[in-house]
């Protein structure tokens, strides 16, 4: 179940060949990351091919859905696609234990409570086509 806030107005993410496995998994609220078989490391963002080994497919593995806030900004003026009334909201970078860092929103708490170093956990924001957008909330 989603425990995210009501959907904001937003520009929903397109799906590419590279990211289809990621977005398909979100339909079942599974959070998966591509791993390079060449380097043995998780890769973010999803690429069409692994530049280190273009003929070897990525291995998609489920992630723990945990993270730590690396940087955070409270958007009083909103970004593209957002309704001006959606602000203030938090755009953050979150470091995952799998070794990658991703952009996300921190939801479910007052924006000014979000601090660098704060542990967070995954929540899902439903999108209009059945996919879900990964967001995070204080753990």
């Amino acid at each position: 179940m989603s425990d995210a806030a009501p959907a904001p107005t937003m520009i929903e993410p397109p799906v590419t060949e590279a990211s289809a496995p990621f977005w398909d998994a979100t339909r079942e609220q599974r959070f998966v990351l591509p791993w390079s078989t060449a380097t043995g490391r998780a890769v973010w963002f999803p690429r069409d091919v692994d530049p280190a080994a273009p003929d070897q497919p990525f291995e998609w593995r489920e992630a723990r859905g945990e993270g730590v806030v690396y940087a955070a900004s409270v958007h009083h003026k909103v970004g593209p696609g957002r309704d001006p009334d959606d602000g203030p909201y938090v755009v953050a970078l979150v470091e995952l234990p799998e070794g990658v860092r991703m952009m996300t929103n921190i939801v479910g708490c007052p924006p000014d409570d979000v601090a660098v170093g704060m542990p967070v956990r995954l929540v899902w924001q439903p999108l209009s086509d059945g996919r879900n957008l990964p967001q995070f909330t204080p753990a």
Partner: protein, 388 residues
């Protein structure tokens, strides 16, 4: 000309191409580009770890990010079908002068198969979708300020930098603008004024942000031989270097360290200068945090100490490190890609033509540009005749 020839300075050591009798390829976009680069590097007996230069007719920075390469040399010269010959020419010159060692260049276009590929086929555009639309835009990131706010938040958390310290940069830059009759804003401001201005995207206030104005500039660069016979005192390029780290802010390896930590020391070494030699620093101030990161990455102070470094007002008129004497992007002008104005002001100051804002000692200036979202840094060291 013979003393400056490229003859024999660089060599093509690996190549790849792809084509099919059907007229169509199975892959396209970045995947095809990455495969070509991998094949050419393999042909040469090299790997991506060896690469420090990237050329691409539309998006050298985006290609480098995709490859996971942090280049010292990027070239996105776009002149149509001959772009790749120009890329080789420029890369050979870069290698000959020690700017980089291993450059990869690539081209991939699939106009025939794009006809039955939904959402593709924008001929002449960068291949593949911009990953920012997938991984940043849905989160409501407001650009450019959102990226710089993330960097500021990280710097504050990691090093204790304060909003007051960032504000001091805006205050001192405005003091310079007050001396420039063409500056957009000339009224003096205080730290409290900055902190009282609206919070746009925390932790950056309105007065932490550069302007949006009209503006234009140009330069002429000639050989040293030609320069001696021309109308104005020459300002020589003593050193220059590049440092690229990413394209999207979410891919920046460390939000407190820019490519200036690479380009700055390299340009200073080429110029044979130390920090004490710098009479003027023109450092791109898209936001106050941008200028603070430049001061640290160029080595004027240690990493993390930028806040304390600027707090005494040393960047303003009469200070020990005059910075952005035209009033900067914060108060003079900022039409979008402000780097041109860094060079123009540096030349005017070195010639002693800066009027009320003229600095007393004017032999060496550093113009340090910042492109993208703290993505690609370019450092140019300039000097007057007596510095040669």
């Amino acid at each position: 000309m013979s003393s400056r020839t490229l003859r024999g300075a660089a060599a093509l050591v690996g190549v790849a191409d792809a084509a099919s009798p059907t007229g169509e390829l199975d892959t396209h976009g970045r995947a095809l580009e990455a495969a070509m680069i991998h094949e050419a590097l393999t042909d040469a007996g090299l790997t991506l770890d060896d690469v420090d230069g990237v050329t691409h007719a539309f998006s050298a920075s985006g290609l480098a990010e995709y490859l996971g390469v942090q280049p010292r040399y990027l070239d996105s010269t776009m002149v149509g079908g001959s772009s790749y010959e120009l890329h080789v020419e420029h890369a050979a010159a870069a290698i000959a002068t020690g700017l980089c060692d291993v450059v990869v260049g690539v081209y991939a276009s699939t106009p025939r198969s794009d006809r039955h590929r939904p959402g593709a086929g924008r001929r002449g555009m960068p291949p593949g979708p911009n990953p920012a639309f997938e991984w940043e835009v849905p989160y409501g990131l407001r650009l450019p300020i959102g990226g710089y706010s993330l960097a500021a938040s990280r710097h504050m958390a990691q090093y204790g930098t304060t909003s007051e310290q960032l504000a001091q940069i805006a205050v001192d830059t405005r003091r310079w603008a007050a001396l420039n009759p063409r500056a957009r804003y000339r009224d003096l401001i205080t730290v409290d004024d900055v902190l009282a201005s609206p919070m746009v995207v925390s932790p950056l206030h309105l007065l932490d942000c550069c302007l949006v104005t009209d503006g234009a500039g140009a330069f002429v660069l000639v050989s040293a031989e030609r320069a001696r016979d021309l109308a104005r005192p020459p300002v020589y390029v003593l050193g220059a270097a590049t440092g690229g780290t990413h394209q999207m802010i979410s891919e920046m390896p460390d939000l407190t360290v820019t490519g200036g930590a690479v380009s700055g020391p390299a340009a200073f070494e080429m110029a044979g200068i130390k920090h004490d030699d710098v009479d003027l620093l023109m450092a791109y101030d898209s936001f106050t945090i941008t200028a603070l990161l430049h001061l640290e990455d160029l080595g004027f102070c240690a990493k993390g100490e930028g806040g304390a470094f600027v707090a005494d007002g040393k960047l303003g008129p009469g200070g020990s490190l005059p910075m952005n004497t035209n009033g900067g992007g914060l108060s003079y002008t900022h039409p979008g890609m402000y780097g041109m104005f860094l060079l123009v002001e540096a030349v005017r100051q070195l010639r002693g033509e800066a009027g009320d804002r003229q600095i007393d000692e004017h032999h060496v200036a550093v113009a340090h540009g910042s492109g993208g979202v703290l993505s690609t840094m370019g450092t140019v060291v300039l000097g007057t005749e007596e510095t040669l």
